[in-house]
Symmetry: C2
Subunit: 104 residues, 2 copies
């Protein structure tokens, strides 16, 4: 009944922090460094998917190993399937209005 549970953005940051063991501060910081891209609601709240959580866990592991976020980003960009779907592009535009250092 539900499409791609893994990709659906449904969790708020508090829940994500609880599941991943990361602080909200860390999660927001990794977003600022473009390691993750949560959905933004009309009022500015972040929503994450299980997929995002998996990604965050991987990020956390690397960070603990001493890898810098800029390096992790490069790794992600290298690994990631370079074909971004139209849907994702549109969402990117919507989200950009809320990204870090953006207007409110």
């Amino acid at each position: 009944m539900i499409e791609s549970l893994r990709e659906k953005k449904v969790m708020m940051i508090g829940t994500v922090a609880e599941i991943t063991g990361l602080s909200e501060r860390q999660i927001r910081y990794y977003e600022q460094k473009k390691l993750i891209s949560p959905f933004r609601t009309a009022t500015g709240n972040r929503k994450y998917s299980f997929s995002d959580i998996e990604k965050l866990i991987e990020i956390a592991e690397k960070v603990e190993e001493g890898v810098r976020t800029s390096e992790i980003l490069e790794d992600l960009n290298r690994t990631e399937k370079s074909s971004i779907s139209n849907k994702e592009l549109i969402q990117g535009q919507i989200n950009s209005h809320f990204r870090q250092s953006g207007k409110r």
Copy 2:
């Protein structure tokens, strides 16, 4: 990496309302009528799983057909595998502290 995405209680009521199209009032009411059992955080917030959402959608369909919640409950109890896992029982005890008409 994550166990049983479908069963993990991670969504807040607003998200559930958005996905199901039901009002928060309705969702809480169905809980009061024991049709669903969200998890309760330490501070009293409800958390739902994708499985809960599927159940809510089924409930909504029946309600629209004019079926009363008491009948829907019986249907659910009849359909449900009567073996409740230990884990669920324990969660039930935890949650009972927050159930409708409970103390705060």
